[in-house]
């Protein structure tokens, strides 16, 4: 059964305007398809069903990377992860994003998967993906956060009833780069900081983004402020290839001589959204990058963490990644 796609009406618009017309008309019935790497799981497994799929793949204006007037970048939401990993402008200015995109899944998936799809993908909590009636699926139980729940991959921070984590590697990097997303609908355009675009269960337990019915993520904007900074990205997973993060770290440092003038330290897969480690950032700003400052930052990085039965390991793992990020970050 899993090899067969269920029936649905397929729409393949060739412009954003046509896509918005469709999403407006179909409203909540429209399943928006980008690279399909997340969608096909849901649909083939029959865990979710839809009457209509709007495939954005033929819309060329949603693809490509452009330099914006201020020196930042505008990246079309349908740009593939392979293109992002290899794009010279991204590698020159925001190596962090290129490295994160290059650590997503496998080459085959990166060839088809898009930046927008990677940002909007649903969580990998297997209770939820299996189709149980958990909070995120509209029920009123979290099966992962129980005395017997299998929660090795789940959240240690920011949980609220649901303990699923964000699986997106690029979201972690883009949060560190203070990026924003452009969301278009027939009603107009919204530009939302990525930190507000991605939401945790305390805000909305049924969705991982603030994307509304009828809206399409068209562009990711990366401002110039972190262009050419020192970056570090590391993803720890059970397998080096084709696996989701157990914990990842995206870091950016702007230097003033030998001292850190500003810093971003963002942990992935520890919460339902990329989790900025504010205390660790404060611990390193104004100091030299050294073993001492790395230790200082690591010691406060996950204050307030609430590990579940099987994921206590994420605390020392996150602390070690913070140490390594501060110690080993490199310039472009």
């Amino acid at each position: 059964m899993r090899d067969m796609m269920p029936h649905f009406d397929l729409y393949q618009p060739d412009s954003v305007a046509a896509a918005l017309e469709l999403t407006s008309r179909l409203d909540e019935q429209a399943w928006i398809l980008a690279g399909g790497q997340d969608s096909f799981d849901w649909l083939k497994n029959r865990t979710r069903r839809t009457a209509a799929v709007v495939d954005l793949g033929a819309i060329d204006e949603l693809k490509g990377v452009r330099e914006s007037a201020g020196g930042g970048l505008e990246i079309g939401a349908l740009t593939t992860l392979t293109d992002i990993e290899a794009h010279p402008l991204i590698r020159e200015k925001f190596e962090l994003l290129a490295r994160a995109a290059g650590r997503v899944a496998s080459p085959q998936i990166r060839n088809a998967g898009t930046l927008g799809g990677n940002l909007c993908q649903d969580t990998r909590c297997w209770y939820y993906r299996h189709g149980v009636d958990c909070y995120r699926a509209g029920g009123n139980i979290c099966y992962a956060d129980t005395p017997e729940g299998q929660n090795r991959e789940h959240a240690i921070l920011g949980a609220s009833r649901c303990v699923a984590v964000s699986p997106s590697d690029t979201a972690t990097a883009l949060t560190a780069l203070d990026a924003s997303v452009v969301l278009r609908s027939r009603a107009g355009e919204r530009i939302v900081p990525i930190s507000e675009f991605l939401v945790g269960p305390a805000i909305n337990i049924r969705a991982m983004t603030t994307l509304r019915p009828g809206e399409i993520l068209t562009t990711v904007r990366v401002p110039a402020i972190w262009s050419g900074a020192m970056f570090y990205f590391e993803k720890v997973a059970d397998r080096a290839a084709w696996d989701f993060a157990l914990v990842s770290i995206a870091a950016a440092f702007r230097m003033d001589g030998k001292r850190v003038a500003d810093a971003r330290l963002v942990a992935g897969a520890v919460a339902c959204v990329p989790w900025r480690l504010h205390a660790a950032e404060r611990a390193v700003v104004g100091r030299e990058r050294s073993e001492d400052s790395a230790e200082r930052a690591a010691s406060v990085a996950v204050d307030g963490a609430r590990p579940l039965n099987y994921n206590h390991f994420k605390i020392p793992l996150t602390e070690n990644l913070v140490r390594r990020a501060i110690r080993d970050a490199q310039g472009a």
């Binding site: 129980t146 609220s160 945790g200």
Partner: protein, 222 residues
């Protein structure tokens, strides 16, 4: 038997007690209707209930924010206030003063009520039922929501028990919403506004007491 002055259940405000004596002084004097501790309880309950209703209902209509922690913290404050209120009323043997009794039906024929009218007693009873149900179901629901007080365990009860707890909690919430709306409406009606003033300042005038209440029933603690 001559009427006791001030009657039981109605205390003269300290500021007017020394002036009480003549008819004019009595007719313009103020009588205490709610002690400070009772008013504090009322407004604490009011604030916590509004917070509880807002945190539970606003997300349902699409206004999304982090509501869970605020909700259960307000719930604990409300529970503490209600427990204190019940204990205080029990210790002072005042539990029956707000319980509707057959004698209250005489008000339907035009008789004046004691301290509380039958409508106020029924409202209080409905509020008590709603709040006790919400608290009684809300405490076990905290086991599932995840709070510092309990180890989170959604298997503590059966699915059907959780279902009943949730349904009863939600019904209590909707009853509370209805009662709050009714209560606020009547508290703002011109002819009832003295009760709102009394809940703010603590007292009402003796004229108002005589006009709307039966002093002898008040004296008997009804």
């Amino acid at each position: 038997m001559a009427a006791q002055y001030p009657p039981a259940g109605v205390e003269l405000a300290a500021s007017t007690r020394s002036a009480a004596g003549g008819d004019a002084a009595e007719s313009h004097g103020r009588v205490t209707r709610h002690a400070g501790i009772d008013r504090l309880f009322h407004w604490l309950v009011a604030v916590t209930m509004l917070v509880l209703l807002a945190t539970s209902l606003l997300p349902v209509i699409g206004i999304r924010f982090a509501w869970v922690e605020v909700h259960w913290i307000a719930g604990i404050l409300l529970s503490g206030a209600v427990l204190f209120h019940i204990l205080r009323a029990a210790l002072r043997k005042k539990l029956r003063i707000v319980v509707p009794r057959p004698a209250d039906l005489a008000e339907l024929a035009g008789a004046r009520p004691g301290k509380y009218s039958i409508a106020q007693k029924l409202t209080h009873t409905a509020f008590a039922m709603a709040l006790l149900t919400a608290i009684g179901t809300g405490v076990p629901l905290m086991i599932k929501a995840g709070t510092p007080f309990f180890e989170r365990d959604p298997y503590r009860f059966s699915l059907s028990t959780w279902g009943w707890l949730t349904v009863l909690h939600d019904l209590a919430a909707f009853l509370s919403l209805f009662l709050v709306m009714v209560h606020m409406y009547f508290s703002l009606r011109p002819e009832k506004r003295m009760y709102l003033r009394a809940m703010i300042s603590g007292g009402m005038t003796r004229d108002e007491l005589r006009q709307y209440h039966d002093e002898q029933r008040v004296q008997r603690g009804e």
